[in-house]
């Protein structure tokens, strides 16, 4: 029974209950029920609207190899912006610090796909998690990979050790049709010379990475290296250096939750990345990764029930980086 937080919890409050991670996930799954129906499924990608809104899954993997799950934790969902994590990790392992000459590392302070910032900052996106930044990072991978779409998919497969991961064809078609704003971003970046590759090919690859489907368990396994100084316990080898893992975690904490970075840092207090498919993956450095999935979104575009579940988790355990 891993109960690492007991000491801290007991010290700070008598109300915190010592319980196993499994009991905790079960309890959270019960407590979030009243929150269903209070958000809205992402409207701009029609195919995402077909997912039942009552889906809920959660999966926690520790660096020591333990796995705890609840609900629909093994059902694949559309990872959407969480894919930006994979592309970033891949680009960092391909070109190292060179990537930071083309994309910034600072919070954006504006909605996630703003063009204003690009205009004022000469085409250098503020960070790799706003859409503009993700396109630049993807362009970097595209320059170094023969087939960028399968390279990213295979990277997700290897990291999670699940070789059935693939893009959902219906979501893919849906993304392609509605991606006008990303096209605007990509052409603006191209006009500034920040993107080297062919824009339609880049947009196609971007749709593909967003349409990848993974389960909570897949994601928790795949990103465990971020909790373990770059070393993947699943693969048994380093996928990033310790410094690179720290970099990704700090970027998630300062830029990973769209326009709710500050609110999430307080309510949850873990580095995390969310996607409009309703997934959120969070990292407790040195300890574990935890992924939650529930399709309904709050106003900032983060899973409403997902944020609630992670908040309960950190409240009940007293665990957070703060």
């Amino acid at each position: 029974m891993p109960a690492v937080w007991d000491a801290a919890a007991r010290a700070s409050s008598g109300k915190v209950r010592p319980m196993s991670y499994q009991d905790l996930l079960d309890e959270i799954a019960r407590e979030v029920r009243p929150y269903f129906g209070k958000g809205a499924v992402a409207g701009y990608i029609p195919a995402l609207r077909r997912v039942p809104v009552t889906k809920f899954g959660m999966s926690l993997c520790t660096v020591t190899g333990a796995v705890y799950s609840v609900g629909d934790a093994e059902e694949p969902f559309s990872i959407q912006s969480i894919s930006k994590l994979f592309t970033l990790m891949l680009a960092m392992s391909m070109v190292g610090d060179e990537i930071w000459t083309r994309v910034g590392k600072e919070p954006s302070g504006t909605p996630f796909n703003s063009l204003v910032q690009l205009e004022h900052e000469a085409g250098v996106p503020r960070n790799p998690f706003i859409n503009a930044g993700a396109l630049v990072v993807l362009d970097c991978v595209m320059t170094h990979a023969k087939d960028v779409k399968s390279t990213i998919r295979d990277y997700a497969r290897v990291l999670s050790q699940n070789f059935s991961i693939d893009a959902n064809p219906r979501v893919l078609r849906s993304e392609r049709k509605s991606g006008f704003r990303n096209a605007a971003l990509a052409y603006l970046l191209k006009s500034h010379g920040t993107i080297a590759g062919n824009v339609p090919r880049l947009l196609d690859a971007y749709c593909h990475q967003c349409a990848l489907e993974m389960s909570c368990l897949d994601l928790s396994r795949a990103l465990l290296a971020l909790a373990n100084r770059g070393l993947s316990p699943v693969m048994g080898e380093a996928v990033l250096t310790a410094g690179q893992a720290k970099r990704v975690n700090s970027l998630m904490l300062t830029c990973g939750m769209y326009d709710s970075v500050g609110s999430f840092a307080y309510r949850v207090g873990l580095p995390a990345k969310s996607g409009v498919g309703g997934g959120i993956v969070a990292v407790m450095p040195g300890e574990f990764t935890i992924t939650v999935w529930s399709p309904e979104l709050d106003r900032s575009g983060n899973s409403l029930v997902g944020v609630q579940a992670l908040q309960l988790f950190t409240q009940m355990t007293g665990i957070s980086v703060f």
Copy 2:
């Protein structure tokens, strides 16, 4: 000999030397020497230019009561924006969550004293650490205190248990003369109705809080409650709730270092707040506070040698929230 990081350090790298905090501070003081002369003292407050640029001090206080210092750690310096921490903590203890109806909690993404954001967001500053936000927080304190200037000064005195803390009259005069931009911010906020009090009085109080002088040791002691779930080991009582302490720490990490939040989160990885007087105070939750002072600033307005010193500290110990 506190050597809590040894296990982690050993696990991650053979190069990390186990040493006491005191040895570590002594070592850092030696290693930062080549960095003197590479920054520039804040130009816009004439009185600050009189401080010798080779000043360097560092002070670490643990939640268990240990204190480690090096260099000019006991020499008072102008705390400037670090004072925003005291005003925020005071406002939180006075009005609780009500403060968040008047100021936001998200990173700003633009230079620290931007008016653009205020204009676009109807006079609600993005967070309490940009100047506009700090003015709103101060206005809140001013509404609840008889004499706002002495109330804030006394709060700093009690938290640090140093009753000689006061504002430097020369810096105060210097601030008053050059504060046109803050006057613009304050009147803009007033025009939006975000500020209740008298503007000249508010600006006078703002200059006063910025002109307070404290040493590294004072600051490390005064803010120890942030590392200890709101409980001040110095005063032996709670100055904030555990939730409020977490809130302040998360705000420091996402908004505390001007336009270098992301870069600092990676290089150092601790919640921190800096001031143009060259001070930086950082918090390792559950463990300690650490303050560094060196007057020369980098382009973002943070102490150049100070950031370097904190980076060395986290590199050598492997300690950070990530």
Copy 3:
């Protein structure tokens, strides 16, 4: 009977009636009646709300000395932003083209008192008719005049040959109380070094010029030099050079009507300047000046009935610069 437009009018449309200017003003006064009650009196200056909303006056003065009036054409009203014309003309006659090193000549494209533009353009206001630009122009006059308030008032008196013109004390008090936004602008300009003088004194003078009261007849007479290549037929001497008069007219056409410059250029097609007191003065170069007053404003802050009256005038006569 001046009927200079007859030829043009007949050429373009059989419906245009040849009539004297006096018949025309009388007809317009009848036709605008249904438009009363559709706008709103400026709310932010309480004293202006006391003016009866059914007030309506119009006065046309030709360069050859003829005068035509209707309604409340001789009743003084608060000229507000129309005063920017006097300050500009005064500054041009004092320092010539030097004024254009401190203020621009281009349309602003944003609401009239925007701070965003100042921030992005290093403190140089886009044109003399946005509030920031008017403050810079006033600062220039203040530098060259012993008593800036009486200098501007006396300039309006001499131009109109009406020596009873003065500021309304009640409006003056009202302006002073609510001028927080102008204070923000002035301090921002001061922080950029665009303003040389003392800010509270400048703001006081600005309130004073806005609170001046003049009638339609006063304004039409005072600005007749703009229709006559700089030569005032009233005073019998040049108040501006021909080039300066052309400059002021072109500035009015491109920047004089807040955010409705393009709409007004089409609907009316005359260089004009409006004020939130409900006055609009317009110029037909080579021919006449025409002033209308009616207190209710449209969404852009221009007199709703006033714009309608001027539109009727240009429709009925076929007269406009286009």
Copy 4:
């Protein structure tokens, strides 16, 4: 000998020489010589750089049928943004005032192809002469025309009665390659729903209209209806209503010269539209159109020698709308 300005000129200044339009154009052609070599040919469209920089032509057509030309007035050049006039006139004749529900009528205050404005104003471009607005107008024509490219070309042909007008294939290829910024604008507009048609087809048609080649004489003839209340003396029929012609003239004066609208209104004082090919067409309502061509541009993207030539013209004649 048309010398309509004599009276006015004599009245205002003894220095203005009465001379025929032909003498005037000849004189201007001599006086502008020192200005060659002081500007720069548009760099972003490679094919435009092949035009000899000493080219200079000027052509004036009166509403009564007289034609005056000098220099390379009959040599076709790339009309570029002047084509926006044709598309606008065509759209106005096709859909009337409906066009103003999709594009604004106000000056933009920002560089001509800004995305910021679109972002802040929900995808409605400020006016039809910024690139975003021109794309929306073109989309409107595309909706109503079978073959948009030949429809616009044929419109220019009929208006000027020159049936050899066509797009330059080399310029066309050059535009297509470098049009990333326009692609960004078009996709952003598409994402806002402001554009109905297919984006690549729209961009292709936009390149085509910009690559049309016309001479000074062609342009002066084609746009004569704007000086004649909508009636084309060349075609002998109305191409716009008198109100529409006034609208286009007022839009040219307030929005036609990129970021130099105010400066051009003062220096020249005629409604005008320029293109980066070095052409400027100007209108004196009721009198004439005048077109000048010289390839080198000033910082605002207007023909440097062209602006100088038009300024000389209005200085020497005293003719302007102000």
